[in-house]
Symmetry: C2
Subunit: 298 residues, 2 copies
């Protein structure tokens, strides 16, 4: 079961974090960008090669330190189909290096369309271990992903309470005794029921932001068997103390994301461009140690 693999990797590395691979050219050391653009000209192919090479170097540096990576589709689609090819190649390389790969695609569509997305991203074409999805359209937009995930032994994270400032505009609306996000949480729990792995967690996880720590703790209590993917640590303002509420009493059942904090670590380090791998690894270790002040993984 997919989250059992993620769970085992987290315990092995003693590190419940995932690095977002959201490379824009300005996050990549200039020398590497220059080499790729010199080779291809100022084209999408050149930019995509720079992103792929940067990702590969980061994956080399983070191997054994971090259990999982999360490429964000937007930054690859920004580079057209060569960028999407770079995302595919990044996923493959990450697998070669033993990482669990969450494709952050936040797709939300219904029926046979949702099935096409699920087959594309969890099946052979992209072969991610897990995807993020958006359930605004209801269970029609969730079940096709969940069913393919069960068949292919993969995982899914459903957006429940997101980390951004305006997330409350819809998600916090109160209808009867529940907010919209608690309705989504209950849907997540109900649809995922019965798919628990050995680690106790369901195949359908939830995205819950670090920037709303009270809601995060409330949802942890409400969704005992739901694995949490937690964005919002670091740049967005979430602290290690905030994210502690995402974990169960064993320090299990959650993974905390950081993107720019790791990707751009070299920019805050002396001679960082030359030693960007060391800077990324040091930042990943610092994040792990920061969270470990509040969370002990059994």
């Amino acid at each position: 079961m997919s989250f059992d693999r993620l769970h085992a990797l987290i315990r092995k590395t003693k590190n419940p974090t995932v690095v977002g691979l959201d490379a824009r050219l300005e996050y990549i050391p200039p020398q590497l960008v220059k080499e790729c653009l010199d080779k291809h000209g100022e084209t999408l192919e050149g930019a995509a090669e720079a992103v792929l090479r940067y990702n590969m170097a980061l994956l080399d540096a983070l191997q054994g330190v971090v259990p999982a990576v999360k490429p964000q589709a937007a930054y690859y689609e920004l580079l057209g189909w060569p960028g999407v090819k770079a995302m595919h190649d990044t996923i493959q390389y990450a697998h070669d290096k033993g990482f669990y790969v969450i494709a952050d695609i936040k797709r939300g569509d219904i029926g046979s369309t949702a099935q096409a997305y699920a087959e594309g991203w969890l099946g052979t074409p992209f072969c991610a271990d897990c995807v993020t999805i958006n359930g605004y359209m209801g269970s029609d937009a969730i079940l096709p992903f969940l069913n393919i995930a069960k068949e292919e032994d993969k995982g899914v994270f459903l957006l429940v309470k997101t980390s951004n400032p305006s997330s409350g505009e819809l998600q916090d609306m109160v209808a009867g005794d529940r907010q919209v996000y608690t309705v989504m949480a209950d849907l997540c729990k109900r649809l995922g029921a019965g798919s628990e792995g050995e680690c106790g967690y369901q195949t359908l996880g939830a995205v819950v932001g670090a920037t709303y720590p009270a809601e995060l703790r409330e949802l942890r209590r409400r969704m005992e068997k739901t694995f949490f993917l937690v964005p919002g640590y670091g740049a967005q303002g979430g602290t290690a103390q905030d994210v502690a509420g995402a974990f169960d009493r064993y320090g299990w059942g959650a993974i905390i994301n950081s993107s720019r904090g790791i990707l751009c670590a070299w920019q805050k380090t002396e001679n960082g461009a030359e030693h960007f791998q060391d800077a990324a690894r040091a930042a990943a270790e610092a994040m792990r140690d920061d969270i470990k002040k509040y969370v002990t993984i059994v």
Copy 2:
């Protein structure tokens, strides 16, 4: 302004419909699929070439009859990066033939991530005229698309009330005096205000399903300056009478989608595989004429 161009094309063709380009291999005449797989082997490249060639043949057949096409990203991502390249090439070919292109991507993400999606899909990499988006994350997920659309003279359709059976699970929740979908409708209206083109419609349109005709009429009254993209006609059960409520008194301000009804028309026609272009054109004309029984475009 982008919807002015769409509006002019609708008036020119006297046809307020859009053809969804959602090609799966089983929708394509077998001879065409065989040629492509013989050339490339049973690979994603072979499948992607079949989809592209089928799309190009359909675009040739529909030119002058239909004003717009809507490739659905899921069916291209199903074929990996070669599929995404086929989507790019389809958009380019559709532009060469004078179609308005709505990239049905339903992306929903925030801040710089939403901006990357918007730059990718509305900017040079994919160069669609318009995209569909999902606003579950709030205005942070809408504004970056809207801002890029204004800069690049493009359009955006926001999911408001979707056509699928389970759309009510979240969208119909009642909070105070409004349902979730009316809150989304009001957000759409408010964020789009001030971006009206000569046709009177805002740069931020709405997706409203044909399968909930009462809600469709209610939203038409509530959102006078919002262009509607209406899925759910045909296979999903929406009728011409149902979709009539999407239009204003001049027969303006809405476009009705059909995908399989046009793509698979050859399967319901004698010798259809040989004459799939004729079958698609005849089906598109039949849909137009069906809607015109209830809607007169000034």
